[in-house]
């Protein structure tokens, strides 16, 4: 019985083959030379980064190119999605291509990129790190060696409805969870805020969940991965941290839809006036203050450091670092360009154009900037006391495990103890060799 049609067979085969062909080969032999002495060669380079939405980056690069006609920089824009940026950079590294020189890395990628020898170690003595916030410098290091220079930073802050708190007779933003819940109860007694939700931090199953976990556990005095590099989610502090998220959701202090809201969803929720307290990134500040009708809370909110169980809480650190690909040519130019982009003037211009938080401490105290971005002092203290996300070579697996544990606990699928015990086991395997 030869009933299988011939052309049909061919088409089936072709479709199947295409489903396989996507999985490309990688032989992963890295370069040997990643030491700081290798920073040689001058000439044209590329700068690989996400979308330059404001056009400010192009302006800064134009400024550089005018002064360095023989060492021109070309911007290579990658997709918006951070994971796709990472993919393309990894692809470039595994093929050892010299197409990418300076890489704009998310703070959590440093360990993976450095451990795989995809980055050139940077000389600490040739970069002025003294003016930068110490917490941000840590994100550019792997095993005490510097691989990336922080160019922008980010940290969570507590946005709160100043107007409602005032009407409820509360003058100070809360410093502890209990104060926050008490304040919320008082606000809810107001007629205009009967149906308002108390609090929101992102608990959807994504990178945001990891950030919320890091903040909640850090605020309780714990850490997901301890200073010794071993997972520490079997501690009472980790339990207390996760329980805060679980209870806030179960008790209805967070909206029921919290498990589906992403960063932008949370922003819309706050801007619609449905929240008293919200943990959010600084970018929301100017957007929620727009008076074009898109925000119902313009001028009605303020920011404060995140609260914790018994005192101020801990924020998580975001932001980007600049690094030099191990396979690039003209690394000396690359280093100069990094110094230029992370310098005080460039960061100041960038803050004004894109409102991305700088890494240079002095800019947070600049009166002109503080006038334009009133949240800067709060953000500075948040960054100073912030903790990074777990440093792991297998960060992708680590964050997936954390998300799974956090999400199953918050949705009630798994009790807190079991979720954390599972997580401890998984992290133990994933970080065994670090």
């Amino acid at each position: 019985m030869r009933r299988i049609p011939r052309i049909g067979g061919a088409v089936v085969g072709a479709v199947l083959a295409l489903s396989l062909a996507g999985c490309g080969g990688d032989d992963g032999d890295g370069a040997s030379g990643t030491s700081a002495a290798d920073l040689q060669g001058r000439g044209p380079i590329t700068f690989v980064t996400g979308k330059d939405r404001s056009g400010n980056l192009q302006k800064q690069v134009d400024g550089w190119n005018a002064e360095h006609p023989d060492e021109k920089v070309r911007i290579i824009e990658l997709p918006d999605e951070p994971n796709e940026q990472r993919q393309q950079m990894i692809q470039n590294a595994t093929t050892k291509s010299d197409a990418y020189t300076v890489l704009n890395l998310d703070v959590v990628w440093t360990a993976e990129f450095a451990a795989n020898r995809w980055l050139t170690e940077l000389p600490k003595d040739k970069i002025d790190l003294s003016k930068m916030l110490p917490a941000t410098i840590k994100t550019g290091q792997y095993r005490d060696r510097l691989y990336a220079v922080p160019s922008t930073s980010d940290a969570g802050m507590l946005y709160y409805r100043e107007d409602l708190l005032e009407k409820a007779g509360i003058s100070e933003p809360p410093k502890t969870y209990q104060q926050m819940w008490d304040a919320c109860e008082k606000v809810k007694d107001l007629d205009e805020a009967k149906d308002i939700d108390c609090f929101f931090t992102e608990v959807n199953k994504s990178e945001s969940m990891t950030i919320s976990m890091v903040e909640a556990i850090g605020s309780a005095g714990g850490a997901i991965i301890g200073p010794d590099g071993k997972p520490a989610v079997n501690t009472p502090q980790a339990k207390q941290g996760l329980e805060f998220l679980v209870k806030a959701y179960a008790d209805g202090r967070m909206p029921k839809s919290a498990i589906t809201l992403d960063t932008e969803g949370g922003r819309r929720y706050f801007q619609d006036g449905k929240l008293v307290f919200q943990r959010q990134w600084p970018y929301q500040y100017s957007l929620a203050n727009e008076d074009d009708g898109s925000s119902k809370v313009a001028g009605k909110f303020a920011v404060a450091p995140l609260p914790g169980p018994d005192g101020p809480g801990v924020s998580n650190l975001g932001g980007h670092n600049l690094a030099i690909s191990a396979f690039a040519k003209n690394k000396a130019t690359g280093l100069d360009f990094i110094r230029y982009l992370t310098g005080a003037q460039a960061q100041r211009d960038n803050l004004l154009a894109t409102s991305q938080a700088p890494t240079i401490a002095a800019l947070y105290d600049d009166p002109e900037l503080v006038k334009k971005f009133p949240y800067l002092p709060v953000l500075k203290s948040a960054i100073e006391s912030a903790t990074p996300r777990p440093v792991a070579v297998k960060y992708g697996d680590v964050t997936a495990a954390i998300q799974e544990a956090g999400y199953s606990a918050v949705t009630g699928d798994a009790p807190v103890d079991k979720a954390l015990a599972d997580l401890q086991g998984k992290l133990g395997t994933l970080t065994a060799q670090q």
Binding site: R3, G8, V12, A14
Partner: protein, 344 residues
């Protein structure tokens, strides 16, 4: 693989038809020459197929037998080099947590395939029947039915994401508070709805092409005999449109078995309720475990091949069946001079 084999046997078949007739007239050398010519003429095709299909399949399989170094040396650097691990990547899939994730994804993939293809077929045939009618504004209806198919999947994923968000259109219309995009059963429903919306027009279009091949007089004869509309549909439309329909369904099945973009955009990656096999392969690859990713892809390859084979076997979806039927009939009925014409 199957392709080259089938192509070769097709060539052999075509060539084999000829010698018998020629031999009758005593021309053995000519037959060999013709066979060689056939092979020569087909060789560019075979070469291209070997390059674009054979090589990736084999390279993917080879990749699945290797693992990239994952350990760290004392300075914290990854120990480099790939090593041969035999079938370890495959056995790892079926042990421990990975097995749970695999069977969950396998179940999701199968569930999505059956539910969406059945719904799409019913809706697609309905669409085709409507598009086939002659009425005012028919061109407009045809064009508008095709719009979902024309939208890139990632974009339609985003559109449906807006519809399904907590304060989105779906909940507003249903007057419910369903958390569609949270990890759970509603997420499965959301994916099915979006997938069916997007791909029903594909089946509709192919079935419409089949419908247009059916001669009008068959229906006229049926009407004269007093057949009801349902009888006409069951006894004329369905059997005559079956070849086109089966091809459309086969293509949809192959497509949905490797579904990735829609659930990834609509719900997100690493969501147990909508994770498909391709999504696991993607996750493995994005975490630099290319060998393991290739193993997942190879298993999926085998699964798709099995489903396609069973489908073709059981339902007789026959893509060039018509041509072969003619050949057979010609052989059976008309021996002699006509046969030569068909064979050559």
């Amino acid at each position: 693989m199957t392709t080259t084999h089938d192509e070769r046997s097709a060539a052999a078949h075509a060539a084999a038809g000829a010698p018998r007739t020629r031999k009758a007239r005593g021309g053995g050398g000519a037959a060999r020459g013709e066979r060689r010519l056939a092979a020569l003429l087909l060789s560019p095709t075979l070469l291209v197929l070997a390059l674009v299909i054979g090589y990736p399949v084999l390279a993917g399989f080879r990749e699945s037998l290797y693992a990239r170094g994952e350990g760290l040396d004392e300075n914290g650097f990854v120990v480099e080099g790939t090593r041969f691990v035999g079938l370890d990547n495959y056995t790892a899939i079926f042990s421990g947590d990975a097995a749970d994730a695999f069977w969950n994804a396998f179940g999701n993939t199968t569930f999505f395939t059956f539910t969406t293809v059945i719904l799409e077929t019913v809706i697609g045939v309905g669409m085709a029947l409507i598009m086939h009618q002659a009425f005012r504004g028919r061109a407009f209806v045809r064009a508008s039915i095709l719009v979902p198919w024309a939208i890139p999947t990632a974009i339609s994923g985003l559109l449906w994401r807006w519809i399904f968000q907590a304060d989105g259109a779906a909940n507003a219309v249903l007057r419910q508070q369903i958390l569609w995009t949270a990890d759970g059963f509603p997420a499965k429903l959301a994916v099915i709805i979006a997938e069916v919306w997007k791909t029903s027009p594909f089946i509709g279009l192919l079935v419409l092409a089949g419908l247009q091949m059916i001669p009008k007089d068959v229906y006229e004869a049926a009407r004269v005999d007093g057949a009801s509309a349902w009888q006409q549909f069951r006894s004329i439309t369905l059997p005559l449109v079956k070849p086109a329909l089966l091809v459309a369904v086969l293509f949809r099945m192959l497509d949905v078995l490797r579904m990735f973009d829609l659930p990834a955009v609509l719900i997100g990656v690493n969501q147990d309720s909508v994770e498909t096999l391709t999504m696991i392969a993607w996750f493995e690859a994005s975490n630099l475990r290319y060998g393991s990713a290739a193993a997942y892809a190879t298993i999926l390859f085998g699964y798709i091949a099995l489903i396609a084979y069973l489908f073709v076997k059981l339902l007789g979806a026959d893509i060039i069946g018509e041509a072969r039927e003619q050949t057979k009939r010609a052989k059976r009925r008309k021996p002699g001079p006509k046969r030569k014409a068909v064979a050559s």
